[in-house]
Every structure is written in C-alpha cells, then in structure tokens.
C-alpha cells in the first residue's frame, strides 16, 4: 500500500526520463519539442498529485455543503492551470522557430544543420 501511494511520483519520474531522453537523443527539432512537452506534462502531474486530499472533492464550495467537507488544495491547480496555457504559447513559439529553420536550411535535423554551419 505504501508504494501505491507513491505511484504517481514514480510515474512523474519515468515521464521526466522519457521526455529528457527524447530531447537529448533525437536530432529532429520537432521531436525534441514533443519531448519537451512530455517533460512539461510530467511536472504538471507532480503538482496536481500534490493537491489530492483523501476523501476530498474539487475545491468548489457549494452553498449548503456540510461544513466538514474536505476540499482538494486549490493552489497547485491555479499554478498549473495557467502553466498549461503558457506552455502551449511557448511551444507554439518553438514550433515557429522550427518552421523558420526549415525554410532557411531545408531540414530540421540538428546534425545536418551543424554540418551546413561548419561548411560556411
């Protein structure tokens, strides 16, 4: 039972590993950006895992709810809610840079781009 309570955190660690490996091992820029967004989602999972309280519910206080209702922690939710929107905007910016690289070099493979740069 002890390890089940930590399963979320183990999944967080594994997703971080997958994301980082994707960024480091692949030379394709778009693939690296996908890896970055997996890495980012792992961090979201960590924060949201922290907000859970046993027997709790979403932090929406309905009028007439019993006074001893347990609510999840709203603070990580607020942080991640805005982080998701900021995340998509920065991802879009990264994709825009990738598109410009493709137009300038004709490829989005990092090794080929480096070769071209050395030849200049």
């Amino acid at each position: 039972m002890e390890i089940l309570g930590l399963y979320n955190y183990v999944v967080f660690a594994v997703l971080l590993m997958v994301g980082l490996y994707c960024i480091l091992a692949r030379t394709n820029i778009v693939k690296s950006i996908i890896g970055l967004s997996i890495f980012q989602s792992a961090v979201f999972l960590l924060y949201i895992s922290m907000d859970k309280v046993d027997g709790g519910t979403a932090p929406i206080i309905q009028p007439g709810a019993p006074a001893d209702t347990i609510y999840a922690n709203p603070l990580p939710q607020v942080l991640i809610l805005t982080a998701i929107v900021v995340g998509i905007s920065t991802t879009a910016l990264a994709l825009a840079v990738a598109v410009r690289i493709k137009e300038a070099y004709g490829t989005i493979e990092e090794d080929k781009i480096q070769e071209m740069d050395r030849e200049l």
């Binding site: 309570g5 930590l6 399963y7 955190y9 183990v10 999944v11 967080f12 594994v14 997703l15 590993m17 997958v18 994301g19 980082l20 490996y21 994707c22 480091l24 091992a25 030379t27 394709n28 820029i29 778009v30 693939k31 996908i34 997996i38 989602s41 979201f44 949201i48 895992s49 922290m50 907000d51 859970k52 046993d54 709790g56 979403a58 932090p59 929406i60 206080i61 347990i70 609510y71 999840a72 922690n73 709203p74 603070l75 939710q77 607020v78 991640i80 809610l81 805005t82 929107v85 900021v86 998509i88 905007s89 879009a92 994709l95 825009a96 990738a98 598109v99 137009e103 493979e109 090794d111």
Partner: protein
C-alpha cells in the same frame, strides 16, 4: 475502485510516452501526444482538479495537436535522427530518474492530509474565500483575485509569445508564381470534399462556442474561467478553419479582429488594476470597485478580469493558428 482506475491511467501515460519516443513518424508522434494529453486530463480529473482537466483537454489534446500538425505540414513528417550512437542521453536521463525516484521515496504519500503543501496558505484560501470573495469556485477566486498579479503576468507571457510567433511567421514571403484558382483549391488543406467530417463538424461548432461562453461566465460557480473559455472558443473557430479552409475562416474572424482581441484582453486586465488604484485601493484589489459592497466589487472585478483573460487567450490561439496556416498556402 478509483485507485484501480488511476493506476490504469498512469500506466497508460507511461506506455503512450514510450510509444511517442519510439516512433520515427512525426505524424504518429503528434497523434499519440494528443492521446497522452487526453489521458493526462482524465488523470487530473481523478485527482480532483476539474479546472485543470478541462484546460488540459482543450489545450493539450485539441489546440496543441492542431498546431503541431500545422508545423509538420511546413517541415517534414519523418524523423530522420540517426541511430543513437552514444550512451550519454540514456545515462543522463537514467541518472535524473534515479535521483528523483530516490527523492520521492520520502515524499508524503498521495492524498495525505498532513502533507506540507496542505499546511501553509491553502487552508486560508479555502476558509476565507466564502467570506471575502463569495464565489463557489475557490480556484477562480485564487486565480483572479488573491493571486491576480501572477495571472496578469501570465496573460502578458501569452501575449508576448503571440508577438514572437507573429514576428517569426507573420510576414508571408512573396509568392513565386501566381496560382490558378483550381490548383489553389487543390492545395488548400481542408476537408471541404469530405462530407461526413464536414457535416458533423459544422453541427458541433455552435455548441463548442456556446459551451465556451458558458464556461466563461459560469467560471465563478463551476469549473471554468477565462483560460478554458478562450481556448474553447478558439477551438471552435479552428475547427471551422479545418473544415472550410483558412481563407474562409479569416473572413469569419478577420485577422485585425483577433489581433485587437489579444491586445484588448491584456489591456482590460491591466486597466481593471489601474481602476482599483484610481478608486483608492491597491492594484488589483477589486473590493473598492463598488464603494458600498466590497463583495460585489470583487465579483465585478473577477468578471472583468476573466473576460480579459478569455479575450487574450482566444485571440492568441486564433492568431497563432492563422500564422501557421497561412504560411502553408503560398
């Protein structure tokens, strides 16, 4: 039962992430990362974060997939990474994973009510929201009122990212040769000739936009708010653009309109803050907006601020989509 469900979802997350890593086809990778986001949204819902689940479903599974596909259309669909020759990436990521797994072994288990995160300021928010702000959704209260500064900053980050995308992709390169109308309609990527997606999709659009407006104005009472609503409305318009082509969508929502929306939203948010100062309070302290009733002032402030957030997010998403789509039709 819930624990079985959540174990299943978490295991699926890992499987899908590994599948994304292994595939060489970027189209497959993008589709799988859409699936990844949807499972992540279900996970957030199981973890009692309804607002975050809604955001992740709209943005992660919806808009992000479309943006990636738009970028793929402009770059290439095949990942031609050479086989990994060195052990460095594997060693680095395993070392990171090992350190983190070692660290989380001491973390409080999931749902522990005595965890440190639940001790500090969170109980105060839950206790004081009915008294000071009196909106049922505590997430909205914290987002728009207690921590309004953070949200203002984030709106401006989104705003700046949009300016960045526009300056990178906004200027269209001159067309090399003039394209006839026929080849143009062949080239333009849309689903006009596929009957079923077109009919079903068009039926869905009004409901998506209506649901967006509901989420916008009901965000104080249920899950929702400006971020989700803006993304939903933008998703409806992006669906229209996918069905009818980008040119038609730009007739529906002209480019000047979405750009104005981006600036107007951020401006609304900041000017509510300034209005609070003019009326004798502090920046973004909405209580002074109504001199007779502080709680009504808070409600008014949250409504205006959320409207500003919604406008900016919707405008940014539509503008970024157009920037990618228009670059494709040359």
């Amino acid at each position: 039962m819930t624990i079985v469900f959540s174990l299943f979802l978490l295991s699926m997350l890992v499987l899908v992430a590994v599948a994304v890593l292994r595939t060489d086809n970027l189209f497959t990778a993008v589709m799988l990362s859409g699936v990844f986001s949807l499972i992540m949204a279900a996970n957030f819902f199981v973890l009692d974060a309804a607002d975050v689940a809604l955001t992740e479903a709209v943005i992660g599974a919806g808009i992000s997939t479309v943006l990636f596909l738009g970028a793929l259309a402009l770059t290439s669909e095949q990942d031609r990474s050479p086989p990994v020759g060195s052990w460095v990436p594997l060693l680095t990521s395993s070392a990171l994973g090992g350190v983190i797994i070692y660290a989380v072994m001491q973390a409080p288990r999931l749902g522990d009510p005595n965890a440190i995160v639940h001790m500090h300021v969170a109980p105060w928010y839950l206790e004081k929201t009915p008294e000071l702000i009196d909106v049922p959704n505590v997430v909205t209260a914290v987002l728009a009122s207690f921590r309004g500064y953070d949200t203002l900053g984030e709106v401006f980050v989104v705003f700046i990212a949009c300016i960045g995308v526009m300056s990178l992709l906004g200027r269209v390169r001159p067309r090399r040769e003039t394209i006839s109308e026929e080849t143009f309609s062949k080239q333009s990527r849309n689903l006009r000739h596929h009957l079923i997606p077109r009919v079903v999709g068009k039926m869905l659009i009004p409901f998506i936009v209506l649901f967006g407006l509901y989420v916008q104005f009901h965000g104080d009472f249920g899950p929702g708010g400006g971020f989700q609503a803006g993304a939903l409305v933008a998703a409806g318009i992006i669906l229209y653009a996918l069905l009818e082509g980008d040119t038609r969508a730009r007739q529906l929502v002209p480019e000047w309109f979405s750009s104005v929306l981006v600036a107007l939203g951020a401006f609304t948010y900041a000017s509510v803050g300034v209005a609070c100062m003019v009326m004798g309070g502090r920046f973004l302290d909405y209580s002074v907006l109504d001199p007779h009733d502080a709680i009504h002032g808070q409600h008014l402030g949250i409504l205006l601020v959320e409207a500003g957030v919604g406008m900016t997010v919707a405008g940014v998403m539509i503008t970024i989509f157009h920037a990618f789509a228009r670059r494709g039709i040359r």
